[in-house]
């Protein structure tokens, strides 16, 4: 290989390697800021910001969804199977909101330990299947929710 080409080859390789290292360092430094939400265990461990809005994510505990008397406010429990937090929210829930499914909620943790959310987003999983298959799995004693909790 001619020297000029070799030099350019090294330069190009150096650019890619340099940028990769810079990006890796930056991402490590901002690791926490890149997280989209905190899990209930993170919150219990005191990692979530206090007196400040943050996102809480986890699975909606089956059977925990309650409609309060005003007809608009709902309460449900978000869990990561380590800890659970009760979330209160007034507004329209997204289509994919279900018990046993993932959600990401934005709001503040009150002094009463209830998370007052002003936004609820449904986080769905990567599983796609026809309803008949889902029913069959349910009947055979392997509901889909079981895989997700791992």
């Amino acid at each position: 290989m001619r020297p000029a080409r070799k030099q350019r080859l090294w330069m190009a390789a150096f650019i890619v390697a340099g940028v990769a290292v810079a990006a890796a360092l930056t991402m490590t430094a901002f690791q926490k800021n890149l997280l989209f939400f905190f899990s209930p265990s993170d919150v219990m461990a005191g990692e979530a910001p206090e007196n400040q809005s943050f996102r809480l994510g986890g699975l909606v505990t089956a059977g925990s969804l309650k409609h309060l008397e005003d007809g608009l406010t709902v309460e449900f429990i978000v869990t990561d199977f380590g800890h659970s937090i009760t979330v209160r929210y007034s507004g329209i829930l997204p289509d994919l909101f279900r018990e046993g499914q993932g959600v990401v909620t934005q709001g503040q943790l009150g002094a009463d330990g209830i998370f007052a959310a002003d936004e609820v987003l449904a986080k769905h999983d990567e599983t796609y299947m026809p309803p008949e298959v889902a029913d069959a799995l349910e009947r055979s004693g392997h509901p889909i929710d079981e895989d997700k909790s791992q």
Partner: protein
């Protein structure tokens, strides 16, 4: 070995590539149309999803578009790298010609994802790692196009573009692994774990066919762009004059 080098030099010569790509384009486009027809038919006849109902069908456009946005970027960076190191004109042109196609697929992936996100997640857009890194990819493509057009000398512009493309390559693994490294609203990958696919085969088949269709579409449309750029950049050369002469008579 010498033969291979000779063949390579012949293929990358503008004149020969112009002729060769002219022969290949109808094949790529023809096969693309047939495969696309199968894919679209499969996308509409695939079973309904147990959670998302009919709305999930947008993945038959969204996933191929997102996949192509990354594949084309890698092609662009590799072509740029070859052009940068070996100063091969065809490689430089390939890198530049890829950018608008990649930008279109990235925009399509973002748009379809956003439209699907509103009913499913409850929002058009969130600043999670996956969505943000894909948006940065779109800006990289736009940057490549803008940089190329900002420099008058085609060859110098192509080298500047190659460096930008190489710098941006770090974003590709970030996009892919963002859903594993950080908690995101976007769901983890469905396809890249082929050992245990989390998608029913009746849905997976049309999706893979759509991905194949897009992958065939790319060289077809890329060669068209390369041919146009070759003609413009080589307009003073003898082979273009000969070509025009032939077509004139």
């Amino acid at each position: 070995m010498n033969r291979i080098v000779q063949f390579f030099h012949k293929t990358v010569s503008p004149e020969y590539f112009y002729w060769l790509s002219g022969k290949l384009i109808p094949w790529f486009i023809g096969i693309f149309v047939v495969v696309l027809a199968f894919g679209v038919w499969g996308a509409f006849t695939a079973p309904t999803d147990y959670q998302q109902g009919e709305s999930y069908r947008i993945i038959f456009v969204h996933v191929p578009a997102a996949y192509m946005s990354m594949l084309i970027y890698v092609c662009m960076a590799v072509a740029g790298f070859i052009g940068l190191v070996w100063h091969i004109k065809l490689a430089e042109i390939t890198a530049v010609a890829s950018a608008p196609i990649g930008a279109a697929f990235t925009a399509l992936a973002l748009a379809t994802g956003s439209l699907w996100g509103k009913p499913m997640w409850g929002t058009y857009w969130v600043w999670d790692a996956r969505l943000t890194s894909e948006l940065i990819l779109l800006f990289l493509y736009i940057g490549v196009i803008a940089l190329y057009n900002a420099i008058d000398d085609h060859r110098k512009a192509a080298r500047a573009v190659a460096i930008l493309a190489l710098v941006g390559v770090v974003n590709i693994p970030i996009i892919h692994f963002s859903v594993e490294w950080w908690s995101t609203l976007h769901q983890p990958a469905t396809l890249s774990k082929l050992d245990q696919p989390s998608m029913h085969p009746d849905m997976l088949r049309p999706l893979l066919i759509m991905i194949v269709a897009c992958t065939i579409y790319f060289p077809g449309i890329l060669f068209m762009r390369i041919r146009a750029m070759l003609l413009r950049q080589e307009r003073r050369s003898r082979w273009v004059a000969r070509l025009l002469g032939e077509e004139g008579t």
